[in-house]
Symmetry: C2
Subunit: 489 residues, 2 copies
């Protein structure tokens, strides 16, 4: 077992009350401070059943303004949630800047429970631990304070408390079958918990063991730890963190300037024939994906006016409308900006068997956000790793991930901009921002090349669609998707 976190010995009753009064008051003022300084705080309470997580949490939040925190009770995943990656239902509940979220039971409970019940093999369990470490690291690297508390309790005491709860009709619903099983298999559970705590005890998000014999003492420990955690986090706020080495399997990919566009054309006749054939093929494959419950994520990035919209249309129109969704990605709304930049994409993942097509993506972080200074240099430098990690989660979940860079040259862009400007039905497609972006073409080209090199992984590869001839690009996109799906089926 991890060495118990030691905040000195439990004080005498009077002293405890005094410190508790003080700590409660301080935490309430800290709540205002995190609101003002926009610090997001994620608190996880894990532990044995009947160890008192719920009631201690009830006491802690009693002193907080309920408008600026949420409690997330992580019960069994719903049928819908089970159709998403394991981290999904946890990730979507992270707090916005300036607020607390308290998780009562969370990913530890789920993963150790699934391992103990045999739902996860040893190697799947190991993968989950890695996912969790990445999740928590991404949060703290992105300015979140993550505080994890584990409520320990002995076997006999647990039995005693559960019996007490079960004997009252108003409280017996609080004891689940899982809790009862846990007490029966106490030693086995304890061993798995120990192992989990050990493996996920990281400097950025350490575990605090709380002995829960005395609820007031537990409340005091947690409250004081939250206060000091917040103080430290506020000092570190917006400090740069180390950029990790890119340990993902990256494959070399040509630079944009080395991609020839002139020869990538298709005749109108051939286009018509191939389009029909490819769309028919894709339609059949979509049916198979649906039945085999394989999710597909197709990401489009490319120059303004490169032809993303028309390209996406040719993919979508081959698909059964009940099984796909297209997400146009604009600049984030306030509630999105207040969270980890990948949050809005976690929120838009397809169910298994479905296809999600993104018109612009999470790569905005290393393009527009980088070039327009919407994030710090440390932020975008770190993002290559974070994105590779995100896509790894998707691939490990079983998703086919396909990323398109829609490529045109600068002259072609000018031609298309001018056409848009001069054609009334097309004017909605062009804005002043497009012209401003065009001025930064060379800076963008550098950023794109860096992005392609650093994120062209084996499990989520980039494909360049040469789109000076839009029709050529459409057929290539269709064929690429077909090939990637066939590889899997």
């Amino acid at each position: 077992m991890l060495k118990e976190w030691n905040k000195g010995d439990k004080p005498e009753a009077e002293e405890l009350e005094k410190r508790l009064d003080e700590a409660r008051l301080t935490l309430a003022t800290k709540q205002i401070e995190i609101k003002e300084k926009k610090l997001p705080v994620l608190v996880v309470l894990e532990g044995f059943g009947a160890a008192g997580k719920g009631s201690v949490l009830g006491k802690i939040i009693r002193n907080l303004d309920p408008r600026f925190f949420k409690v997330a009770v992580m019960e069994e995943a719903t049928a819908e949630e089970k159709r998403k990656p394991f981290l999904y239902r946890h990730f979507v509940k992270i707090p916005p800047a300036g607020q607390f979220v308290f998780f009562e039971g969370g990913w530890m409970d789920e993963v150790t429970g699934d391992f103990l019940s045999g739902k996860l093999t040893k190697s799947q369990y190991k993968d989950r631990i890695n996912s969790i470490k990445g999740f928590e690291r991404q949060l703290t690297d992105n300015g979140y304070l993550v505080m994890k508390f584990f409520f320990a309790i002995g076997k006999k005491e647990q039995k005693k408390r559960m019996d007490a709860l079960l004997s009252d009709k108003n409280t017996k619903w609080r004891v689940s079958k899982k809790d009862i099983k846990q007490n029966e298999d106490y030693d086995k559970c304890k061993k798995v918990f120990d192992d989990y705590l050990d493996k996920t005890n990281q400097p950025n998000a350490p575990w605090y063991l709380i002995s829960s014999d005395d609820k007031k003492w537990a409340e005091l420990q947690i409250t004081e730890l939250l206060i000091s955690g917040i103080d430290t986090a506020l000092m570190n706020h917006s400090k740069a963190v180390p950029v990790l080495q890119n340990t993902f399997p990256v494959v070399p990919i040509p630079k944009l300037c080395d991609i020839s566009l002139e020869d990538k054309t298709i005749s109108d006749d051939q286009y018509r024939v191939e389009l029909k054939l490819c769309q028919k093929k894709l339609r059949e494959l979509h049916n198979k994906l649906y039945r085999k419950k394989i999710p597909v994520i197709i990401a489009y990035e490319g120059w303004d006016a490169a032809g993303k919209g028309g390209n996406i249309k040719r993919i979508a129109s081959a698909l059964d409308p009940r099984g796909y969704e297209v997400f146009p990605i604009a600049s984030p709304e306030p509630h999105e900006k207040a969270r980890h930049y990948l949050w809005r994409f976690w929120n838009r993942l397809p169910k298994d068997g479905h296809i999600a097509i993104f018109d612009r993506t999470w790569y905005g972080r290393v393009m527009v956000e980088r070039l327009e200074d919407f994030c710090s240099e440390n932020d975008w430098q770190r993002a290559y790793y974070e994105i590779n990690e995100f896509e790894k989660e998707l691939a490990d979940w079983g998703a086919i991930v396909i990323k398109f860079w829609v490529q045109i040259d600068k002259d072609t862009q000018l031609e298309r901009f001018t056409l848009r400007q001069n054609t009334p039905e097309k004017q909605w497609k062009i804005t002043d921002e497009d012209w401003r972006n065009r001025e930064k073409w060379d800076l963008y080209e550098d950023a794109i090349n860096e992005m392609l090199q650093k994120t062209n992984t084996t499990y989520a590869p980039w494909y360049v669609l040469e789109s000076n001839d839009k029709k050529y690009a459409r057929i290539k996109a269709l064929k690429t998707i077909i090939k990637e799906i066939e590889k899997r089926l």
Copy 2:
């Protein structure tokens, strides 16, 4: 049966192709027009199983830009959705301004299906029809275009198509048990469908019957109808609609100026005692509500600095954190502003057995939005009816709806503003906007009085909390909630 909608006879093959080409192209340009003019368009496709809704829809959207429409496939409600009001899962899927949503099967399918299977009694079925009529009217009154198509098909033809689908392993999943049952009970189903179509055929959202023998002809009819529907809607856009008579059971309530505040005080000692007693009582009741799956909605409105936050805190801290949520309501974000103003509240409804507390509410429509011209006069005039209707849905669902007006006088507000301004820890609570609102006190008072008179219904009553003495107001809130819950249990 409704008289079949008649757009002339089915044309000859060649003529049909020609008109279809033209209509497809026109609809694509209409899509850009609705985007520019911010018209939201909700299209419902209902009908017999195997009548071809899905495949005709597939053809229609093939010509549209998939970034600006969504298809909502309304399958059986999930376990989570069943814990919300019947309209919930439909309402949350309405389109934002400028986009299409196509519902493939929707509320008609659900309600007629539940009636046919005996899940709904005759009187419940009647209530559902009324809810649906209100829902569709609220949409069209708020600037939505709602177009409803019913796909008719004969019994023999249905059987033939289902057999064909069932004989192919790639398509057999498309035929549900419900479809098979529908064919067996064809005549009974047809009678219920007829009745439903008849009752929900309203001038603002009429039904169009589509004969689906020929899919191209069906596509042409729908496409041409959508085009003319859009044209009409664009002409009517932002035109005022009639304000309906307030037919809800409204109870008289005193005007603000007739409410005495001076005598509404409580001693500190009494406060401490009563607070403890009331909170204990509420905690017990919360447990019972949870077990009986009764939802509770508590709405707070009141003057700035009236003490809403502290009041809510005293309620929340009596509740089990696993069973309630507090929603602070600020001005709407872009994706919220793009939809019906009640959409963001539909999205925040509690599950049954849970409590939702709103810090400011949907009444913003008839206060700040009215006074700041964020909506038209017709909009806020209509809102009293719409809000009564919304709350009726909640009450009929089984929710306890409690609305608080937190009342102070003008001098007390000034005192509290000044205190906030001069106390560093309280400064976050006061903004320039608060001072500006204060200047409009009298206009607000008129609006509030009108709101109280028009929305104090028997099923969702207002309670004024006299809050010159905040402690008095807190105890009154607790007692009111306890009384309302006890009435129900």
